[in-house]
Amino acid sequence: MKISRPDVEHVAMLARLELTEPEIEMFTEQLNSILEYAALLEQLNTDGVSPTAHVLPLHNVLREDVTQPSLEQERALMNAPDAENGFFRVPRIV
């Protein structure tokens, strides 16, 4: 077993996912079996191989620094679960 139960709890915290007891158990088992399969990659010698993050030879895409129209406040807020006075409203932060 590569991943322990505390590992799963730690990763869930990093991912901001509140997991139930059965979910923690299920993911511990399933992540282990998936990563066991992924261990196939270890067989492969990749010394000196550069990683491909992206298939295109694209670098930074720049444009002129000119003001362009953007989403109006009303439309930006129309899908907000909670909004007030033109702001997104959220629970206590500090």
Partner: protein, 488 residues
């Protein structure tokens, strides 16, 4: 033949010759949807009012004697991860169940400009994660050829709707096979374009370095016409490539004499259904009779594609889906005591099991201490897989394989074992890792179930894919077969 079974090209002629009006055509599809939808469940939302309004506008143009574009007045459907301004776009997720985009995806905008009539939004695996559409939060979609079987996924709705004549064509998205595997399972034509050929602006992101939008259609000609409309540079997508988009219909030539076709041996064999293998064997015979030179070849790193994909895609997904925090848009859970509690509860309640599994897997693969062993290693393997294709395309014009190792499987057959489900993508995933285009076309049946022939091509060489697919189609009848849904 019922009007809903026709291709865009055939319907265009009927519209131009005033044998049918755009409104009548749209009504015919609404009727078809009403009758077969209880069996197939391909749509998550039918936009009848909008469709009739768009169709009426086309009729006005016809009455005014204007020249009609090839897609004008032709009904279509969109996968529900493509943003439609003012129309709910849910990704088949509880997280976005009430999300109404304030803008159109570039593909939506281009189709609107071309006068397309939007019938509605189509079902999918939640956030495009899955291979059977069983992960939809809303409903399962059934395979029109056998209602006890899945339509494939994640674009199960778009493929099933085309097969069931509930739309003329549709757009799907393909991250590891999500256009091609369902198109094959449902017996229709599906193209995954070269990465960068079609703008991803307004496609709700899953794995950004792999996602690509593409057309699902009843034949190859329609597919090329749709690509003419949706492909090409878009400044709103920084990975959009500024290339000269050809007229894809120029490649619809019934001639493959001398075409060099490679069959990578790693794509057939252990795990391939005998019925699928038989169809491929016969298809090779047909291609040879038509003058193609077909030989076995090797893509030696193929077996590493699935493990590499299932590290890279979840890693990108965990990053992309971090935006669903219950603040700006989407679902928010009740009763969060502080911000972290609210976000964690929102994500726990808003995401389904497969999405959570991939977020967990991706977050783990990116965690410091494991990053080199998993994510970086997978990206290096991606280079080797791309290298396999580069070498093969030095010798061959296209590569051929089945679209999937089996025909459509039954509901529940793989849903309890994530790894078994992942392995059903074995023929399609390497293409996304390499960024190249690929097309699947109907090539026969295993029992009553359709089998897809999968051609892979060089980057930006959709033309050769269209040529070989068109030639095969012109010399076979498989694309004309229709499932029996008890009404016509």
């Amino acid at each position: 033949m019922d009007i809903t079974a026709k291709t865009a090209v055939e319907l265009h002629d009927l519209l131009v010759n005033k044998e049918v009006s755009a409104v009548e055509l749209t009504r015919a599809f609404m009727e078809r949807i009403r009758v077969v939808e209880e069996k197939v469940s391909a749509y998550v939302f039918v936009s009848e009012d909008l469709a009739l309004k768009q169709a009426a506008r086309v009729d006005e143009r016809i009455a005014g004697g204007e020249n009609l574009g090839p897609l004008e007045g032709i009904p279509m459907g969109l996968k529900d991860n493509l943003c439609t301004e003012g129309i709910k776009t849910t990704c088949a997720s509880k997280m976005l169940q009430n999300f109404v985009p304030p803008f159109d995806a570039t593909v939506t905008e281009r189709l609107k400009k071309a006068g397309a009539v939007c019938l509605g939004k189509l079902n999918m695996d939640e956030f495009a994660m899955g291979s059977s559409t069983e992960n939809s939060h809303l409903q399962p979609t059934r395979n029109p050829w056998d209602l006890d079987r899945v339509p494939g996924g994640s674009s199960g709705g778009p493929a099933a709707a085309v097969a069931a004549d509930e739309t003329v064509y549709s757009l799907g998205s393909d991250t590891g096979g999500s256009i091609r595997q369902p198109a094959a399972f449902c017996g229709v034509v599906g193209l995954k374009p070269t990465y960068g050929a079609v703008s991803r602006y307004g496609l709700i992101a899953y794995a950004s370095s792999l996602d690509q939008i593409g057309p699902i259609s009843k034949d190859v000609r329609d597919n090329a016409l749709i690509m003419n409309c949706i492909a090409g540079y878009d400044a709103k997508d920084s990975t959009s490539v500024n290339y000269t988009r050809p007229d894809y219909t120029q490649f619809l030539v019934d001639d493959i004499k001398g075409l060099r076709v490679g069959i990578p041996r790693e794509y057939l064999g252990e795990g391939t259904d005998p019925g699928v293998e038989e169809v491929i064997r016969k298809a090779v015979g047909i291609l040879r009779d038509l003058g193609a030179q077909v030989d076995e070849c090797s893509l030696p790193h193929t077996k590493y594609a699935i493990p590499a994909y299932y590290l890279i895609a979840p890693a990108e997904c965990s990053s992309n889906l971090a935006r669903y925090d219950g603040v700006g848009f989407g679902y928010r859970a009740e009763g969060g005591e502080d911000i972290v509690d609210m976000v964690s509860k929102t994500r726990a309640e808003g995401f389904g099991p497969e999405v959570k599994r991939r977020i967990m897997l991706g977050t783990y693969a990116l965690t410091s201490g494991y990053y080199d062993a998993y994510y970086l290693k997978a990206q290096k393997v991606r280079t080797l897989i791309k290298g396999d294709f580069d070498r093969a395309f030095g010798e061959y014009d296209v590569l051929l394989s089945p679209a999937a190792p089996t025909p459509a499987f039954k509901f529940g057959e793989k849903s309890s074992d994530p790894l078994a489900m992942y392995l059903s993508d074995v023929c399609t995933v390497p293409v996304n890792l390499a960024g190249i285009p690929a097309i699947t076309i109907p090539a026969g049946f295993a029992g009553v179930l359709p089998v897809g022939l999968h051609f892979m091509g060089k980057a930006f060489d959709e033309g050769t894919l269209y040529r070989v697919a068109y030639t095969f189609e012109q010399n076979t009848e498989f694309h004309k077969a229709k499932p029996d849904l008890g009404w016509r």
